[in-house]
Amino acid sequence: MHSSAARSARVGVVTFPGSLDDGDAARAVRIAGGEPVRLWHRDKDLHGVDAVVLPGGFSYGDYLRCGAIARFSPVMGSIIAGAGRGLPVLGICNGFQVLCESHLLPGALIRNDHRHFVCRDQWLRVENVDTSWTQDLRMGQEILVPVKNGEGGYIADPETLEWLETLGRIVFRYINGNPNGSRDDIAGIRNEAGNVVGMMPHPEHAVEELTGPSVDGLVVFTSVLGGLLAPSMVTA
C-alpha cells in the first residue's frame, strides 16, 4: 500500500474531561493502520499530528450546551488554527457539537425531538466522498453504524440548510428512520475545504466484527490515512 519507508500517519485523539469514546477512536485509528496520539485538552501542542479526531462523550459534563465549554479549551485553539491550514479534523458526536460551537461547521445540535437519549444501530447514506474522511467510501453507499446521543438533532436556519444542500456539504444522511429529529435527516456535514467533517453517528464503534453492528466505520479512518499517506502529502 505504501513504501516501507513511510511512517504510519499519526492521528491525534483529543481527551477533554468527560470524553468517553476517546479510547475507541484511538483503537479505530490503530485498527485502520494509523498511529493514535492522545492529545490533552489543556495542551496547546498538537505534537505534529497529521489529523485530529474529536471523540464522543460529554465534555465538561455538557451541562450548559454540548460542546460549548470544550470549544474554549487550549487544544481547540490549535485545532481551529490547524483546520484553517487544511489539517483533517473529524468530530464524532460530542466532537461534532464542539466543531459547531467552534464555528468550524455551521448550525448546531439540539435535544432529540423525542427528548430521550437514543442508542441504536443506524443506516446512513454517504452523500459526499470529497472529504478527507470519506474519500474511500462510495457515493450513495449505505453503511450501518451506531448512533447514541441525547442532543443529536441537527439544526440551522433555513438559508444555511439550503446552501448545505446545494453546495454538497451534507456528508451523511440518516436512512430507514431519523433517530433524533435532525433537519433534512442530516447525520454529518463538512466544511468548504472538505478537511473538517462532523457526524453524530459513531464510526469508531463499527470497526470490529465482534463488538460492532458492522465494520463499515473503518473506512472513515482508512480514508484519512490513505489521504495522508499519498506521496504528495507525506511530510519529508
Binding site: Y60, G61, Y63, L64, F72
Partner: protein, 93 residues
C-alpha cells in the same frame, strides 16, 4: 399554532413566563461547570452561576386569574420538578 413572532396577529394571545431554578440547597452541577468555565475564560468577578429553565407559554385570550392558576398548575406538574426545583410564574410585561 402561533409562535411568539406572530403575537401581533389579530387573535389575542398572552404570554406567561415560567422561570424554573434549582432549589438553592440542591447541587447545581450546571452552574458550577459554567462558573469554572467563566473563570478559565477570564471572567473573574463572577462569584456564582445558577442555570435554570425559562418557559414562554402563550395562552389564548387575556391572562386572568384563572389562566394564571392554570399555568401555575402546569409548572407544578410538568414544567418544574418541585422535588429539586422552584418556579415563579409571571406575566410578561
Amino acid at each position: 399554532m402561533s409562535t411568539p413572532a406572530e403575537r401581533s396577529e389579530a387573535r389575542v394571545t398572552s404570554r406567561v413566563v415560567v422561570d424554573v431554578m434549582p432549589k438553592p440547597e440542591i447541587l447545581d452541577p450546571q452552574g458550577q461547570a459554567i462558573q469554572k468555565a467563566l473563570g478559565r475564560m477570564g471572567f473573574a468577578a463572577v462569584s456564582a452561576v445558577r442555570q435554570g429553565k425559562r418557559f414562554e407559554v402563550e395562552i389564548d385570550g387575556e391572562v386572568d386569574a384563572a389562566a394564571l392558576a392554570q399555568v401555575e398548575q402546569m409548572a407544578e406538574t410538568l414544567l418544574a420538578n418541585t422535588v429539586i426545583e422552584e418556579f415563579v410564574v409571571r406575566v410578561e410585561q
